[in-house]
Amino acid sequence: MIILIATLAVPAILLPVLASFDWFPRRLSSIVSIVALLISLVELPFILLNGPHGIWYYPTNLVSFDGIAFAFSVTVITVSTMAAVGSLGIMKDETNSAIYFSLILLTTLGMILVSSSTDLIFLLVSWELMTVPTFVLVAMKRKDKRSSEAAMKYFLAAALSAALILFGLSFAYGLTGSTSFSAIASSFASNAHSNPLVYLLTAALLFSGFAVKMAIVPFHFWLPDTLEGAFPQVSAILAAGSKKAGFAAAIRITLALLLVSRFTSYSLSWQVALAVAAAVTITWGNIAALTQKSISRMLAYSSIAQAGYIMIGLAVQGTEGAALGLIGIFLQVLFHGVMKGSAFISLTNIGDSMEDLSGLYRKAPFTAVGLAVSLFSLAGLPPLNGFWGKLYLFLGAVQGSFWWLAAVALANSAIALAYYSYLAKKMFFDEPSTESRKERIEVIAVLAFSTAFIVITGFYPGPIISTFAHLGGLP
């Protein structure tokens, strides 16, 4: 674990310093960052095989690299690598490119630590390590009003999320006398049913803090504006990477706080509350996506809907469908990360308005095919990998006897297919209306990877599913 942290942190700290000297070649910082990300991806299985052991102790384990951490770390490193490769072109002549890549490394490290932390204080510090660099990344388009507006809204939302987590943390600490998840879990298990209200409030504060990041519906207001204003590559990191890290934290809270507490005196269980939140989020995201005129806003709303699908996996914890739900979360997180990341990165070649899409196949065939594969996979069409994540989540909902939730999610898949096919129809059958752009080679490289990944794991999902099933068995 130390080696993994050093792989990302050392280049992240050294690159901006070195880049301030004249003799340092500017292109080197991007290559070093991408190599660091790839090395860290290779290191992950070895860390997992070493066993989930902690490295820092105060008074108990702060970090444990278990199955949840592995599944989420693979996702966030893949997404960050795609974003870093996709940024090579737009950062070529930028004077701040070393800082840009250093911030990508730092936020990736933050996401890995969030998904592997087993202590609330460590979680909070990693949360900030993940969030604060992305403020700067969103504001990176200098002299652009939209970028500064996006950064401002994102900052206020993220600061609210940190404040909510912190307030929940203070109650958890006061109630249980510890900040480690295992100690909190045992205290919740033995005491929560006697005085459920204050324990439920603590869990709700923590969960709503994470929900701001996950963009669950009452807390989703910042996402479309932020993703529209930022660089598409940064939007990819936000929508496909740091949102997922929020889910990692939410899984741990669900397993450590909600699942062990027997809130029997309440007829409305937390599972039903999460299921309702999931249903509302899916429906709201898909309906709002139907009416958007900007592609990045549509992708942002569809990413809100996808967050709702992942919420299904949380809602079925503690029921018959728990194992299927957890596998579904892992699959959906990895697959959706790659699809959404490549869809956002492809916007670099396209532009942001719907008009730019018309006749895209004739202007930029490679981009059009790559984007279309991502979109149909987002819709969950069977031969592509998006289908498998949704299938496991729906099966989990059915087994957990949330029939209505599975029905709502299925109906929404049809709505989603409608607007994705509308985009595809524009790309392949409409006449080109705007000037063609040059297809950037690095974006095509990212799209080639994502297309290959989507198709191959779509036809042969077996190895990944069995790996995740094995990981889900770990605590």
Binding site: V125, E128, A150, L156
Partner: protein
């Protein structure tokens, strides 16, 4: 034990004031202040629990220091963003930021 209740009720009030400020104020600086109030309410909670809780709470000071430094780091970046927005627009009213519409 009564003292602890006073502190917790006080910090919950501060939390409510912070949420109210966040929802009702439209200047980005005021909203930042509201968030700082929430963070400090949490800090007050931690300090009160460390002093009055019946069991031994080691490390509360360390947690409070962590919280203060995290809030400072966040505010530093946030103020930089607010200054950039001010340079581009001349004001930092979030209601008038509507370049993007869905």
């Amino acid at each position: 034990m009564n003292d602890l209740v006073i502190y917790v009720v006080g910090s919950t009030l501060f939390f409510a004031i912070g949420i109210y400020g966040l929802l009702s104020k439209r200047s980005a600086i005021r909203m930042l202040f509201a968030i700082e109030i929430i963070i400090n309410a949490a800090n007050l909670n931690i300090a009160a629990f460390a002093r009055y809780a019946p069991y031994d709470l080691g490390g509360a000071q360390a947690i409070a220091m962590f919280v203060i430094s995290i809030a400072a780091a966040e505010a530093a970046v946030g103020l930089a963003i607010i200054i950039e927005a001010f340079r581009l627009r001349g004001k930092v009213n979030v209601d008038e930021m509507n370049e993007m519409k869905g």
